[in-house]
């Protein structure tokens, strides 16, 4: 695991310590039985030992299907859910051992944008209060900002493409795309270094989605933000990420630069995932349909993951060794992947 992490560090081309460094992160949830006294009858390992790094101003895309633990990873990194074990270092400081009061000043630099813009804004608060809340908590000059709270709210609203005159309106008066912009403005208020974007566009209509994606890209260029972009939509991730990590059942199965993941994937799951995405181009799509890798079955339950390689139950390359020995996450070709039979797909 550590060799892979080191290699990854070389890949990002950074001599100094990365902005965020996650090592062997594990998050377990207890499963409680029914009955009058709920007893813990087992655990679900939503995230089982993942390691990743994000450099300054970099976007890491974290993709996977529902239930693979990608959102939990994002939340565990921010300490919104305490990780069971493992280490999360942000700007060189270990976060997992900090108390809540010690964490507060650090939270300024790490923000999150949630998936559902309908549920993540308080319906009883006008937009002004929603966006200024972080400034009220941390102080108007937090993060080196200037101006009064009111000035900053106006600036933030303009920055994300909202009319500051609408600051006294309530969330229900805005459309889905505009609400997501409010969420982004709130996350930007304290000038953070890292934003975890938890499926920020998947609840939006296609034509509105593109606007939010562009906004995120431009904000990154302007402010040097680092993003952890969590999503299930591979085409959006491909568009926005510098590096991509593919998750399956709580583990990273493959990681590499965007180019390498999308063109030279070596893990069968990544290959299947990429081949399953329909492309909005009829000619290309007909071609792809002929060569499509269609996996059988569904993702197994994380309460009882398969032994050895977790993907083996759906893998067409699976052999006896896959059930016995868990493949290490090591370099195969251009990417780092966890498969005994990792190989680039032969294009016919």
């Amino acid at each position: 695991m550590s060799t892979a992490a080191m290699e990854e560090q070389q890949e990002t081309g950074q001599a100094q310590a990365p902005l965020l460094e996650v090592r062997d992160l594990v998050k377990e949830f207890p499963v409680r039985g029914g009955g009058i006294i709920p007893r813990t009858v087992g655990t679900v390992q939503a995230v089982s030992g993942i390691s990743l790094q994000i450099g300054q101003g970099e976007t890491l895309g974290l993709v996977g299907e529902s239930g693979c633990g990608k959102s939990t990873t994002g939340r565990a990194i921010l300490q919104l859910q305490k990780p069971t074990s493992g280490s999360v270092r942000f700007k060189g400081r270990e976060l997992t051992t900090l108390r809540a009061t010690e964490l507060r000043p650090i939270r300024r630099d790490m923000q999150i944008v949630f998936q559902d813009p309908y549920a993540s804004l308080n319906p009883k608060w006008p937009v002004n209060d929603i966006i200024s809340e972080p400034l009220q908590i941390h102080g108007a000059t937090a993060g080196g900002a200037t101006g009064t709270v009111q000035q900053q709210v106006n600036e933030l609203m303009e920055l994300v493409g909202l009319n500051p005159e609408h600051r006294n309106r309530y969330p229900h008066e805005f459309s889905g795309g505009q609400r997501q912009r409010i969420g982004i403005a709130r996350a930007l208020a304290l000038r953070p270094k890292l934003i975890v974007l938890d499926e920020p566009v998947s609840a939006l209509d296609v034509s509105v989605q593109a606007g939010v994606v562009n906004l995120l890209e431009e904000l990154q260029e302007q402010r040097g933000l680092a993003y952890l972009f969590v999503a299930h939509d591979l085409s959006v991730v491909r568009h926005i990420s510098d590096r991509v990590a593919v998750m399956y059942l709580g583990k990273i199965v493959e990681t590499g630069t965007r180019e390498d993941i999308y063109k030279h994937a070596t893990h069968p799951y990544t290959q299947a995932l990429l081949s399953a995405v329909p492309v909005p181009d009829p000619k290309q799509e007909r071609e792809r349909q002929r060569n499509r890798i269609v996996l059988t079955g569904d993702v197994p339950s994380p309460t009882n993951p398969p032994s050895g390689c977790r993907f083996r139950t759906r893998c067409w390359k699976a052999q006896d060794i896959c059930a016995v020995e868990e493949p290490p996450l090591i370099r195969h070709g251009k990417t780092i992947s966890a498969c005994h039979f990792a190989e680039e797909l032969q294009r016919s």
């Binding site: 008066e173 296609v206 606007g211 906004l215 591979l234 085409s235 299947a272 995405v277 329909p278 492309v279």
Partner: protein
């Protein structure tokens, strides 16, 4: 549609279909003047964002709308008029002639009956056969959609099936009576990509094996690209462009379609900015004057606000668009040439989108209030 042979080929002919929902705040024109025809064995893709009327029009064909809905126009299915048939009269057609696959596989199955029971019930509703024969038919149908061990699976309940399996069971139920027309309403939206690939493959196989016509309703342009023969793009309750799949994707003749294609990240356009359409889809209660896309359109001119353009033939046969400026798009090869892609600092004013009369600032504000209130609820229900 001129020759008699061609008329016999036509399975479904929808003429000027309108669906209105009277509400306390006014009439919502969910579907406005939709006309299309579908040949036997043809696959039609209906694309649109939430609130574009794509689901409501298919519900009208199935006769599944609530009684409050006012349906006008003609729905001609193989010579029979379906518009305004009573619930009982529609029963003969439902599932027997026209079957529907819904988006959410969990809510469209009854949790307290086994899969096999539900499938054989669907079969017995239209065939007077013994329970045993119907069960055998159910198992056969499950096998057809690729469910392993169908005889054992038929005895299980929906909760024992995974999401993809449930959607297969729904497809099995929809084909059990050999319908001539299958309407699939966002059949893969609730599923993961790898499972979506399985379901789409199943649907394609079913299409080839049963020779049924398929109406594929989706917001995913990728799904449409690979599956359908013809595409119909819907916006603001009506069809704004229609044509062969290659025509519409390669040479869109309606700015909305072009914007939609530019909004989807495409591997061929890597490294460039996406071209979003500014603003939000219109409220069906307060449609803008003239062309419903005009407030968001980069090519808008004064004439666009005058009257809603007709769905007229463009430069190639069978390719129609509802735009008076489609000729402007002949020279355009990339959406970037028409749509602005920079976002930062550009403030979009939601009120502008609905201003029917910009002079009346007060009225505009009230309109925008109800617009956004309405939109919140319709959009909220449209997604999972």
């Amino acid at each position: 549609m001129t020759g008699a042979a061609e008329r016999a080929e036509t399975l479904l002919n929808v003429e000027d279909l309108c669906v209105d929902f009277p509400t306390e705040d006014g009439v919502v024109g969910a579907v406005r003047g939709v006309s299309f025809s579908l040949r036997r064995g043809e696959v039609l893709g209906v694309v649109g964002e939430s609130g574009s009327g794509k689901s409501v029009s298919s519900m009208a064909i199935m006769g599944l709308l609530p009684r409050t809905a006012k349906v006008t126009g003609s729905i001609n299915y193989a010579g029979d008029e379906l518009a305004n048939l009573s619930y009982r009269q529609m029963q003969h057609y439902r599932n027997n002639e026209i079957a529907m696959i819904f988006q959410d596989p969990m809510t469209s199955l009854n949790p307290v009956f086994t899969i096999g029971w539900q499938l054989s019930e669907a079969y017995r509703a239209h065939h007077s056969v013994s329970k045993k024969a119907a069960w055998a038919k159910a198992v056969e149908s499950l096998e057809l959609v690729g469910i392993p061990q169908p005889d054992r699976r038929a005895r299980q309940y929906p909760h024992e099936f995974s999401g993809g399996m449930r959607q297969r069971a729904i497809i099995a139920m929809s084909i059990i009576n050999d319908p001539q027309l299958i309407i699939a309403d966002e059949p893969t939206t609730a599923l993961d990509v790898t499972v979506q690939a399985q379901i789409l493959e199943t649907l394609l196989r079913i299409r080839d094996e049963t020779a049924a016509a398929v109406i594929m309703i989706t917001h995913d342009l990728g799904v449409v690209a690979g599956m359908v023969d013809r595409v119909q793009v819907m916006y603001g309750g009506t069809v704004v462009e229609s044509g062969g799949v290659d025509q519409v994707f390669d040479e869109p003749r309606m700015p909305y379609t072009m914007g939609l294609l530019g909004s989807v990240p495409n591997p061929n356009l890597l490294g460039t900015r996406l071209t979003p359409i500014t603003g939000a889809p219109p409220s069906l209660m307060h449609l803008p004057a003239g062309c419903s896309f005009s407030p968001r359109c980069p090519l808008v001119i004064d004439d666009c606000h005058e009257a809603e353009p007709e769905l007229a033939e463009t430069d190639s046969a069978g390719h129609t668009a509802r735009c008076i400026r489609w000729r402007e798009l002949l020279e355009v090869s990339k959406p970037q040439e028409v749509f602005i892609s920079q976002q930062l600092g550009i403030v979009e004013d939601p009120a502008v989108l609905l201003a029917e009369n910009p002079e009346l600032a007060e009225a505009e504000h009230i309109a925008s209030m109800s617009e956004h209130a309405g939109q919140g609820t319709t959009e909220g229900t449209g997604r999972q």
